[in-house]
């Protein structure tokens, strides 16, 4: 069974494929090729939603992407729940489940409609006046906690799904010579002529079927073919070309720099049984050499009182439902117009047997061919007239009309009807042109903004450029397709019969009426419930620029971005202010043209693919041995190794104690590593690090300190000299890419004379730190006879050798203060080397320790961590490392800045140690430090705590801090104020364990 209002034949629907669907739980039927809107209209269903603010019953205004009212939620189950879809774009499929929004308990009876009764309170600036004001008066909290959330809840769109999105989304980059946006007559002609040249052409259209306005046309004949047959033949020819890509259901939503266009292609939403392994949507990022915009025009509503009742729609929408879908949108229609194109709709509807009750033309006269044809067809036309009100609640039942006489309306008359078609004229869709930063020019004659000079390589053709005659559009399209690729233009004339030539003119603003202007609601922005009087009020309250009027009234700020409302809002403001439209300005068109799903933007960048996870070669071993991991940049680092029943505190204490007592193994593979090679390698390091490297012998290491040009510490690490022209540089884990870029920058741009090559080797080497008094005992059996005695291999030396036959760089370095080695082996052998060392360590119960124990042990020795104890304002002297600065070097990055007055000023913050008076108290990292145990509000902070731990070895807490003039305050007691009271602590040197440093040299 098909809807009662379905025509027996006609329309671009597949009558052999009937489908069933539900709307708000009630079953209906339709055909493949229908939209949800057209199928519901075929059953006489006009009530589809409730308005945003006043909860007024709303129907279908338009037939395409500009629809502001008929927003629905489609529920496919299993978390596939999409709100705020335009019913005019939802394609019908078997089993579709759609629901209305913003109503409770039901669409026909909505409690929220009480808002209409209090509507005088909800006018322009309502949000500003009420949400801001009462905060400053007594009881404001009650307002903010109770009333505001209730009001915000009542004003809303559909609800988002609370489940994770189960679908996936694809991303694609594409390049082409010509991208054509829009597949109406202009776009088809342009794509065809561009494709004939052999250029790569992409043609996209938001609709499932190409053809644009030709699909609504039962009248025109092009080159001897009916318009839609011509379109079908043209599309078929395009599809057969290998250089043409056709993208239906694809919205060009954003125009970005340098001819990059964002397209959103809907792949599965129209299918009854989509394969869920297939992507739901695809985001195209198309870089086009030339862009042809053939985006058409959008019909304007007329702003008359109560113009929002279900059953009042745009004239072109009425024609689309009739011709494209074979549905009569009503049975008795009143047509209100200020433009000739509505006469075509009236003629088509009359031919289909719809009764034309009256055509009410705002204009005094019209000599257009269409109005003449309507007259000749005997349609009842009343000129110089307008609608002043409508009746009906969930469906329009009648209108009151009258003659316009200046600002008044006389000779009022009531007409019964069940459909009102309105047409204020046409607004060219210049959204994408404007997004491309092209300047718009106001055309007085057509009441429209038209594309001016393009800012990018691009051309606008057809209705979006203000051209409305079909023959002219086809000619322009053909010409544009050639011209954009700089081919000699050969004009082609298309033989068009039945060309409804016209302009975009018509009317903008509010139509006159005889009623109390403070009482009537004549809607401008249907989606945000903005009326003509709201805009008038805004101008009375002093708003002059449309950008301000927009924000104050919220006109044009809904999800439809004012597609049907912008020009009428401008017209009203212009009339109220007595100023021309261009002097009031035009609001900015922003991406996206229509809403795009978050999933489409996210693409594959979600879950495990959101960011790469970096794991060391030893990760699997650590995971199998109870490691908890922490994120350091993208790396997963073993944080601590928990044995049965141990909490973090116990595990860290054990790891520290056993490492200092016997030995510990630590995975240091994440350290950044850069191979610096070349005859000038030492000189390069001289200029990049504070230290001097010239005299560092082969086989020796040195701690290097790197500054930025402003003189502040940016990184540190041990550098070993492998050969005279080869250094093994290490960096902090997080700083590796930054240091590499910093080095490349200076090498390429400041010191291009130096013969040096830089290679990141971070992922090539696995690094295992073997630390503790028995470290040598662990390592010795595995290094294939290499002499690692203290005599041959003292602290800060290195040897190149083999580890059980595998190439090895062995450093004698320590970040714990114990005897220590760092074993570098190729990453592929990292796990095997670790397991071999672990087997040796098992002989005397050595431990594996994680980053937390590493932090504690280095703090016990006062070794800084760049980025924790320093923050980008710390100089080498502040850090107590003036010894690392080669003062005789003529230049190094940051040297000149170290002499700046601020960097040598007294009382700079210096790194010190802190010992709390109560040894059990572990300070909060980041806590402020003051001199007064009971500081008044606003007391100047002397510094802050940078590192703080409990040291199991010392049996007490330790901390590091930066404090003004810190090294001059040794022994002084300062205070760390906390909510529970001040904590007192003594300033000490930042070394807590093995003050003489003898353990290093074991």
């Amino acid at each position: 069974m098909s809807g009662a209002l379905r025509l027996p034949r006609g329309g671009r629907i597949d009558r052999n494929q009937p489908v069933r669907f539900t709307f708000d739980g009630r079953g209906y039927d339709g055909f493949v090729g229908d939209t949800l809107a057209s199928a519901l209209l075929s059953h006489g269903v006009h009530l589809l939603g409730r308005s945003f603010k006043y909860h007024r019953p709303r129907g279908i205004l338009a037939a395409g992407a500009e629809e502001p009212n008929a927003l629905v939620t489609v529920d496919r189950g299993g978390g596939r729940w999409t709100p705020n879809l335009r019913a005019t774009q939802v394609e019908l499929y078997e089993g579709l489940v759609a629901k209305s929004q913003n109503r409770w308990p039901s669409l026909a009876f909505d409690v929220g409609a009480v808002n209409s009764l209090v509507s005088p309170m909800l006018g322009a600036g309502f949000y500003y006046k009420t949400f801001m004001g009462p905060r400053f008066v007594k009881g404001a909290k009650l307002w903010a906690d109770l009333f505001e959330p209730a009001i915000r809840r009542a004003a809303g769109l559909g609800e988002a799904s609370r489940d994770p999105d189960p679908d996936h989304y694809a991303t694609r980059f594409a390049h082409c010579e010509v991208l054509v946006v829009g597949s109406g007559p202009a776009g088809l002609a342009a794509a065809t002529s561009a494709a004939q040249s052999g250029a790569r052409v992409i043609l996209c259209d938001e609709n499932p079927v190409f053809g644009g306005s030709l699909a609504d046309d039962n009248h025109a004949v092009i080159d001897g073919m009916a318009a839609d047959a011509w379109a079908a033949a043209t599309i078929e020819a395009l599809a057969a070309r290998p250089n043409v890509t056709l993208l239906p259901r694809t919205q060009a939503f954003g125009y970005y720099n340098h001819n990059l266009i964002g397209l959103n292609q809907r792949l599965t939403d129209h299918l009854a049984q989509p394969d869920h392994r297939a992507p739901r949507e695809r985001l195209w990022q198309v870089r086009a050499k030339h862009v042809v915009l053939a985006t058409g025009a959008i019909e304007r509503p007329l702003v008359f009182p109560d113009n929002d009742r279900p059953g009042i729609m745009l004239a072109s929408a009425g024609r689309t439902f009739l011709n494209r879908f074979g549905v009569k949108p009503g049975t008795r229609v009143v047509v209100a117009t200020a433009h000739d194109s509505a006469y075509r709709a009236a003629l088509d509807l009359a031919a289909a047997g719809v009764q034309i009750v009256r055509i009410v033309d705002l204009r005094e006269s019209s000599e257009g061919a269409l109005s003449v044809a309507a007259e000749r067809a005997g349609l009842p036309i009343m000129r110089g007239a307008t609608i002043v009100g409508t009746s009906g609640t969930t469906r329009v039942r009648g209108v009151r009309i009258g003659r316009v006489s200046g600002r008044h309306v006389t000779d009022l008359e009531s007409l019964a009807c069940d459909l009102v078609l309105m047409c204020g004229g046409w607004t060219p869709s210049v959204h994408l042109f404007s997004q491309s930063r092209g300047k718009l020019a106001y055309d007085e004659g057509s009441n429209s903004f038209l594309p001016g000079t393009p800012a990018q390589d691009q051309v606008s053709i057809g209705a979006c450029a203000g051209t409305f005659g079909l023959a002219q559009i086809l000619r322009d399209g053909h010409r544009a397709g050639h011209a954009v690729i700089k081919m000699a233009v050969e004009d082609r004339d298309f033989a068009v019969v039945g060309d409804d030539e016209s302009t975009g003119a018509g009317f903008i603003g509010a139509t006159p009426h005889d009623r109390d202007p403070t009482q009537v609601k004549a809607f401008v922005d249907f989606q945000n419930d903005v009326t003509a009087k709201d805009i008038a009020l805004a101008t009375r309250e002093g708003f002059r620029s449309i950008e301000h009027i927009k924000r104050y009234t919220t006109t044009g700020m809904a999800t439809d971005q004012g597609k049907t409302s912008n020009m009428n809002a401008l017209g009203i403001a212009s009339a109220e202010l007595g100023r021309s439209v261009p002097s009031i300005g035009l609001t900015t068109f922003r991406q996206p043209y229509t809403p795009v799903t978050f999933g489409s933007f996210a693409g594959l960048s979600r879950d495990a693919l959101f960011d790469p996870v970096r794991e060391t070669a030893i990760h699997g071993w650590a995971a199998a041995h109870g490691a908890r991991f922490e994120d350091v940049g993208l790396w997963k680092r073993a944080w601590f190794f928990s044995r049965a029943g141990e909490d973090m505190h116990a595990a860290v204490n054990r790891e520290c104690q056993i490492t200092r007592e016997r030995a510990g193994l630590f995975d240091a593979s994440t350290l950044g590593k850069i191979e610096v090679v070349g005859p000038d390698a030492a000189e390069f390091l001289n200029r990049l690090y504070t230290n001097s490297w010239t005299k560092l012998g082969v086989g020796k290491c040195r701690y290097g300190l790197m500054l930025n040009e402003a003189g502040f510490i940016m990184d540190d690490g041990v550098v070993g000299r492998i050969a005279t022209d080869r250094f093994h540089v290490t960096t902090t884990t997080g700083g590796a890419p930054r240091v590499m870029a910093h080095m490349e920058d200076y090498l390429q741009t400041e010191f291009p004379d130096l013969k040096v090559w830089l290679t990141s080797t971070t992922e090539q080497w696995a690094v295992i730190a073997v630390q503790g008094p028995r470290a040598r005992e662990m390592l010795a059996p595995l290094v294939d006879g290499l002499d690692i005695s203290a005599e041959t291999m003292p602290h800060m030396s290195l040897q190149v050798g083999t580890f059980q036959g595998v190439p090895m760089r062995l450093f004698r370095v320590s970040f714990t203060g114990e005897l220590g080695f760092e074993v570098n082996v190729p990453a592929d052998y990292g796990r095997a080397a670790w397991e071999a060392l672990w087997a040796e360590g098992r002989k005397f119960d050595a431990v594996a320790y994680g980053t937390e124990a590493m932090h504690v042990m280095r703090a016990e020795k006062g070794y800084i961590i760049v980025g924790q104890d320093t923050d980008g304002t710390v100089t080498p002297d502040d850090a107590g490392m003036a010894w690392a600065v080669g003062k005789t070097k003529p230049d190094f990055v940051g040297k000149r800045s170290l002499g700046r007055p601020d960097l040598v000023a007294p009382n700079r913050k210096q790194i010190v140690g802190l010992m709390t008076d109560d040894p059990r108290t572990v300070l909060e990292e980041g806590a402020q430090i003051v001199g007064d145990p009971t500081p008044a509000r606003g007391t100047h902070a002397l510094g802050h705590v940078t590192s703080s731990y409990f040291s199991a070895v010392l049996g007490r807490s330790i901390a590091m801090a930066v404090v003004e003039g810190g090294r001059g305050r040794m022994g002084e007691t300062l205070y760390i104020p906390m909510p529970s009271g001040s904590i007192s602590a003594k300033i000490v040197k930042p070394v807590f364990y093995d003050l003489e440093g003898v353990r290093l040299n074991g």
């Binding site: 980059f173 970005y256 720099n257 340098h258 001819n259 990059l260 990022q285 870089r287 930063r437 800012a455 990018q456 390589d457 040009e709 402003a710 870029a741 490349e744 920058d745 390429q748 741009t749 400041e750 291009p752 230049d891 040297k895 000149r896 800045s897 002499g899 700046r900 007055p901």
Partner: protein, 97 residues
């Protein structure tokens, strides 16, 4: 998103590049005047109009190079190798987009 003509690799998407600040800032560490050195460190022109700026083709050849860009239109007027003088726009030929 910009389309940046790398002088070594040709036009590539902005995704492959990192911006590296204003170009032609001369480093003269021997300068005695603290004020002048402070300006070298911290003061940039930030023009409305054409700026010479540095980019690095991080996901490509890794090279730093210079670029003349109009900060109003975002059109790129020229790109050239580090160390080369800033081209005069009359002779830089067709603006590249």
């Amino acid at each position: 998103m910009l389309l940046i003509p790398c002088p070594y690799c040709g036009p590539r998407s902005e995704l492959e590049f990192k911006h590296a600040g204003e170009a032609h800032i001369t480093r003269e560490p021997q300068v005695a005047d603290d004020q002048a050195w402070g300006e070298f460190l911290y003061t940039r022109t930030n023009p409305k109009g054409i700026i010479a700026e540095r980019w690095r083709h991080t996901s490509g050849c890794g090279r730093f190079f210079n670029c003349l860009r109009d900060t109003v239109s975002d059109n790129i007027l020229a790109t050239y190798k580090s160390g080369e003088p800033r081209p005069s726009l009359e002779t830089s030929g067709e603006p590249s987009r």
